[in-house]
Amino acid sequence: MFLLRNSFRKSTKVFAYITFSINQEPQRQIHRWVSPTLRELKRRRDKVGPEKPFARSSFLEWNYEAEIYAFGKRLGENFNKDILKRALTHKSYIIQKELEGETTDLQSNQDLIEEGSLIISECLNEEYGKIYVKDIADSIIKHLTTEDMLSHVAKHLGLTDLVLTSELPVEKSTLANTFKAVIAALKQSQDLERAKKFIKDFLIVQLNGQTVFDLWEPEEPIEYLNNILKKKGIEQFEARLCNESASNTILANYQVGLYSNKKLLGIGWGENVEIAKNTAALDAIRRMYKLRTVLI
């Protein structure tokens, strides 16, 4: 076992050998032994199996106060230390401490999680409720408030090591809840405006590069378009085949335009007329709702 552990430690040194040799003397090539050695180390690592999960806070070099301080500074926010600490303490941690027989005066972040969740949905509704119709706004908000998304953001804020919980490794739901609690803590430390700015800067930017139709797509675009037209009092549309190319071949392509009262609503193409019609309906919906092609 000792030999094995030693060899793992060496593996980082092998990498160090490759990359940092620049510092000492010029290196012409990566030596022939490096690759086989790494291969052997990888084989041994696979044989042993995955490493046991560990808490970073169990290390000797760990100062919770300093970490809390750095957390706020890193994000450019002034947190109230006590509120931030409470936001990071989960119920499971307190229960665990009590079971171990320790008396703690810690408070759990249950109420902060609920408050933060409300702030997030309020902020997102403000952001998207006005510019998009309800269906689209709802699906964008749903996408942004999934456990995966919130935990991803929380992880990249550096919350994984700071959370006080009994789980090891920290679960996604816990991370997502911590993110909500941190937002509530920010609101209590500063004000609501600041908390909303935080949500914009860290959560909403995750939509970068995505289109509306990545997050929302009506199941029956043609029926959906018909409903919109009825509501707006516009005449029913008429689908026309604008172009066709290479029909009866594997590369067949049709272009369909939807017209209402001789005005073009939307145009789309596909490998058969039905698909082309659906694409055209989506295009018409995009034009009617004035959806941006890219969300940010």
């Binding site: 160090a16 490759i18 970073r56 070099e61 190319s245």
Partner: protein
């Protein structure tokens, strides 16, 4: 060297969690400086700690700096990033300046890039904002009103035939002879 080598991992330029789009967050979250108090190989590290460390920590309040003295072991920088990466640098016989430079590098990168080989020096998630090409893109609008099959368009292009070229040559020859 082959692309499937174990030594270098192929990768693209990355930006973790859309960093910098809203506000910029330094991705280095903590750094541990390990050194020996009396071994010569840690000399530069000790000088750095005595003279520059306080300034470094003050100018980077978002990075937690730990010092870990260990007897008779080489100096090491161990850095941890927000994306979970951990980077280990052997600083044997490094000078104060070198350590400062390495720490500066750690501060400015997004994760552990040791043993990475960039497949390209640029990357985009959206290769085309224009959309895919179809046979109707950039088609001349004069074709809109034509019904196919069309006689004019089906005609062979009028080019000078080989016979015509020969006759032309023959005529030129006669002019030059006369």
């Amino acid at each position: 060297m082959s692309n499937t080598s174990l030594v270098f991992t192929p990768s693209f330029i990355k930006n973790p969690s859309q960093n910098g789009l809203g506000r910029y967050v330094c991705q280095l979250q903590r750094v541990v400086l390990k050194f020996c108090k009396n071994n010569g190989s840690s000399r530069g590290m000790r000088e750095f700690i005595e003279e520059e460390l306080v300034d470094y920590a003050r100018s980077n309040p978002g990075v937690v700096v730990y010092l870990k003295p260990r007897r008779h072991r080489g100096p090491v920088i161990s850095a941890e990033y927000l994306n979970g990466d951990k980077q280990w640098i052997n600083c044997r016989n490094f000078t104060k300046v070198e350590i400062f430079k390495w720490l500066n590098l750690l501060k400015t990168q997004q994760g552990d890039t040791t043993g990475l080989r960039f497949r390209k020096l640029w990357h985009t998630e959206m290769p085309s904002i224009q959309g895919p090409w179809t046979p109707y893109t950039f088609r001349p609008s004069s074709l809109n009103l034509i019904s196919f099959p069309n006689e004019d368009l089906s005609k062979a292009p009028e080019e000078e035939s080989a016979t015509d070229k020969l006759i032309e040559l023959y005529k030129k020859q006669r002019i030059s002879e006369s």
